[in-house]
């Protein structure tokens, strides 16, 4: 074991900490978790029904399923979130009861969630967070603390300055830190819940390296993701859940996207993406010139026409979000011009953008897109409340009801009752509400930012269809870090790298590798921004 490196041992002795792992060390490599007949029901809902699962050391089990399939419920049972559940769980033939989080932790089960911020303390350092609750001394020896933290970080091959504050870390560093902390607490089974949603390709590779290291150390891994290609790359076994039941389980050698999608949804999906534009695009609606914001956007210029979907491809951090937010007036810009239907407009606030018919579907649905504690109706009518009033700004409830009901029907939101609060909806349906709130307006430009993040295939398909419909009368800008998605959805693609547009491709030129090369900066930009040209002239 890595753990027994002489240095770590010395540190441990100095700190007088007895790591629990020594007790397990004998059977660490052969402890198998066997859960039989797991189930969980809520009043009126069967969230999980008779699922049997085996976690083996050094083995990656991928769990896939649409939203609401029961993946989260399964994880919550294994991490001790529920005080009662059906079925039995055994580790090495010994029965364990996982009725509270500390029981799960004692059994060596931990999870790394997508929202890592909730488990870290932002104003403490990396070392302090790493050893949270494990540091056994009344008086803190900072030197020893940092030394121990470094030893733990080294175990997962992570290089991170222990003195940095967690609030200064970027997302993937935080995620790595959470993994390192789990490992330091003698994890035997580690569950990853959608870990790659906000990671760049490079960061995903690093995560996979860590998972492989853990695998080699005999940790049993559960990997949950909507991205089937990742599953194919990292998993040993794949298990598919649907409506709380296990519907398929096969080794990765039998991996087949069609088969998995079919198992997930119960029906075969022939084509996720809607048909491409049939007619030539119409008039130019949006013209952007030299949009610049210090360190974020550098002289961005492009056009968008009626009836076309302009895809914005680029890695995480390439400036896609910044571009859309600038167009929407959510962030200030230093200079640059925006023309709408041939006329120059000043977009100084989202409010101005909305009056001009520029609408944004923001990146973070729950934090920026919806009011989760409000009903769908109130979310849907929010941006254009003026349309639902009579005298003295009094709300015209019947008109609001009619509009909300029609919107919910049109977007096929389930449940189709606008009086349901948004927090009770699945991610895909919440996203439909975010789109739905703009439908009362006269859209000229629709801006989509990572619109299908964390939603299932069926909901994605619905969203793509809606995007295509919206493009009939407006210009649509569709930004995504998922290159395949941009290729599937867009009629034309602009590629961003480091706050610049580096390439513009027509549908005939769409090619995954080409886009990737532009996006990573490994290919000379096809488009030179004015700023760059000036710079080049000087040299």
């Amino acid at each position: 074991m890595h753990r027994s490196s002489p240095h770590a041992k010395v540190v441990r002795r100095q700190l007088n900490i007895t790591p629990i792992i020594y007790r397990y060390q004998g059977n660490l490599l052969q402890s198998t978790l066997q859960a039989v007949g797991l189930g969980k029901r809520f009043p009126g809902v069967v969230a999980l029904d008779d699922v049997t699962i085996t976690l083996q050391p050094g083995h990656v089990l991928a769990l896939v399923g649409a939203n609401g399939a029961g993946k989260s419920t399964l994880i919550k049972i294994l991490t001790g979130y529920y005080d009662h559940y059906d079925g039995t769980i055994e580790i090495d033939g010994r029965h364990v009861a996982l009725h509270d989080p500390s029981a799960a932790r004692r059994a060596g089960i931990q999870a790394v969630y997508q929202e890592v911020d909730t488990v870290l303390i932002p104003y403490l350092t990396v070392s302090e967070n790493l050893l949270l609750g494990q540091y056994a001394h009344a008086l803190v020896s900072w030197r020893a603390l940092h030394a121990q933290a470094q030893a733990e970080l080294a175990r997962v091959g992570l290089q991170l300055d222990g003195h940095r504050r967690v609030e200064d870390l970027v997302l993937h560093e935080k995620q790595m830190l959470v993994i390192a902390r789990a490992v330091s607490q003698d994890v035997r089974y580690l569950i990853f819940d959608e870990p790659t949603t906000s990671l760049s390709l490079h960061e995903v590779e690093r995560l996979f390296d860590i998972i492989r290291t853990l695998k080699a150390q005999g940790v049993g891994i559960v990997y949950i993701s909507h991205r089937l290609m990742e599953v194919a790359a990292i998993a040993d076994d794949i298990m598919v859940l649907r409506n709380g039941r296990k519907v398929a389980h096969f080794p990765v050698a039998d991996f087949d996207v069609g088969r998995i999608s079919e198992a997930m949804l119960g029906t075969a999906i022939t084509n996720v993406y809607p048909p491409k534009r049939e007619q030539a695009p119409g008039e130019v609606i949006l013209k952007v010139e030299h949009l610049t914001r210090a360190r974020k956007l550098h002289g961005v210029s492009f056009l968008a026409r009626q009836g076309e979907i302009v895809g914005v491809a680029g890695l995480v951090g390439a400036g896609k979000t910044e571009l859309l937010r600038a167009l929407f007036g959510a962030d200030p810009v230093d200079h640059g011009k925006i023309y709408l239907d041939g006329k120059m407009v000043k977009i100084t606030s989202p409010q101005r953008a909305v009056t001009h018919g520029i609408f944004l579907i923001p990146e973070e649905r729950r934090a920026q897109g919806v009011l989760v504690d409000e009903k769908m109706r109130k979310n849907i009518s929010l941006p254009f409340l003026g349309q639902f009033t009579w005298a003295f700004d009094l709300l015209h409830r019947r008109r609001e009801d009619i509009h909300a009901t029609a919107t919910v029907e049109m977007l096929a939101v389930t449940p189709n009752d606008p009086e349901v609060e948004v927090r009770n909806l699945s991610g895909g349906n919440q996203q439909k509400v975010v789109i739905g709130k703009w439908l009362a307006g006269n859209a000229r430009v629709m801006l989509f930012d990572e619109a299908t993040q964390g939603i299932d295939v069926k909901a994605k398909q619905d969203v793509y269809r809606i995007v295509r419909d919206l493009a009939q009368k407006a210009a649509v800008i569709y930004a995504s870090s998922d290159i395949d998605e941009v290729i599937g959805v867009a009629d034309r693609i602009i590629v961003m790298h480091d706050g610049r547009i580096v390439a513009e491709l027509d549908s005939a030129q769409f090619d995954r590798n080409l886009i990737l090369e532009y996006a990573t900066g490994s290919r000379t930009p096809m488009i030179q921004t004015v700023e760059d040209t000036k710079h080049a002239e000087k040299n």
Binding site: G68, K71, Q114, D193, A330, D373, P383, L395, T414, P415
Partner: protein, 362 residues
């Protein structure tokens, strides 16, 4: 990944009525306590007090209680508006006191007509709200700290107005070098606002004017928050400021408006208070701050709202009023009263938050 989304009934079982997400299916008893607990508590309280004092439930006494609670209610509605936009205005008590001193000293020291004095005082209140909004929105001082600063500013201004003296008829003018006696007075018409009754018949003393004023404000504020576009925007800004901003809501204007209304209502309460006591007592508004905040949070528990709402706040303020009036009539000594108030506040908050949370845990 969103956890609640996993429990969504239509995804797992399409036969379920869609209006019943799992969290909504609580036990009937808990549901009843959460919704009606506060109202039942008030009813029980009144029944209890009426057994202790047979005149407690007489109509005249009830209106006296309402009158005593009306000033608090008006202040509390202002606090509720600021809490609705996810802000907090702790300057209200001091602004109430400032309003008392400003309105009375205008009349007594500077011989201003009572109507004009009211208008000037209301204008001053709006300016205070505007300054609060400026501190919070433009200078980005956290709301609690900004309004805490305003609390001291308003309190200080209140003292400086008369050089620390109370205002009453025939007082010496603190601003004249010879300290001549003032000739202005707090007129009968002005005193009617706080002391008058409307519609007296025989045994019935009539409805106190402060109660009418309070009801008018409460109903207007309720309609404003629940049934107007602006009210909807208030809740949107309070629910998620960023999502509201990205929906094109003029977030800063909404917040400014909330602080102005909060200060305006505190000023109105001050005018009623000045009229009620008939003099300009120093720092007479201070006690209203804590009671108003308490009433606002009591209001969270009424009808299981779990959010600021005018109806709940009014019930909360009346609750505090009834409690204090009843305790006083029962000869419970004054030094017990704060303790009892605190106990009741915690109990009602526990009711609305703890029970609800437990039942949503699944």
């Amino acid at each position: 990944m969103a956890d609640v989304s996993q429990l969504q009934p239509t995804q797992t079982n399409t036969n379920l009525p869609p209006t019943l997400p799992p969290g909504a299916r609580r036990s009937v008893i808990v549901e009843f306590i959460v919704r009606y607990g506060m109202l039942v508590a008030i009813a029980l309280l009144m029944v209890f007090f009426s057994t202790q004092n047979e005149r407690f439930l007489e109509i005249n006494n009830l209106f006296l209680i309402a009158r005593a609670a009306s000033i608090l209610t008006i202040v509390a509605i202002g606090v509720t508006l600021s809490v609705t936009v996810d802000g907090f205005d702790v300057s209200v008590g001091a602004v109430t006191g400032l309003s008392v001193l400003l309105s009375t000293s205008l009349m007594v020291i500077w011989n201003v007509d009572w109507g004009v004095a009211i208008l000037i005082t209301l204008g001053a209140g709006l300016i205070v709200g505007l300054i609060n909004a400026f501190f919070i929105i433009k200078l980005r001082i956290p709301d609690l700290l900004a309004t805490l600063g305003m609390l001291y500013l308003a309190q200080g201004f209140q003292l400086m107005l008369t050089q620390g003296e109370a205002v009453f008829r025939g007082m010496y003018n603190p601003w004249s070098p010879e300290r001549v006696q003032t000739t202005g007075e707090i007129t009968v018409a002005f005193k009617q606002i706080g002391q008058g009754f409307v519609g007296a018949t025989g045994e019935f003393n009539g409805i106190p004017i402060p109660v009418i004023l309070m009801l008018f404000i409460a109903i207007s504020a309720h309609i404003f928050l629940q049934y107007t576009r602006w009210g909807r925007m208030f809740y949107a800004v309070g629910g998620n400021r960023e999502a509201a901003r990205l929906s094109g809501i003029p977030v800063n204007r909404v917040r400014m408006f909330a602080y102005m209304l909060s200060a305006l209502l505190a000023t109105i309460a001050g005018i009623v208070l000045a009229s009620r006591i008939g003099t300009g007592a120093i720092r007479s508004g201070d006690p209203y701050l804590l009671d108003a905040v308490a009433a606002t949070f009591f209001g969270f528990a009424v009808l299981g709202a779990r959010r600021p709402n005018v109806f709940g706040t009014v019930i909360g303020a009346l609750f505090v009023g009834i409690l204090l009036n009843g305790l006083t009539q029962m000869d419970v000594q004054w030094f017990f009263q704060d303790f009892i108030k605190g106990f009741v506040l915690i109990a009602s908050l526990a009711m609305s938050f703890f029970l609800v949370k437990r039942n949503q845990g699944g």
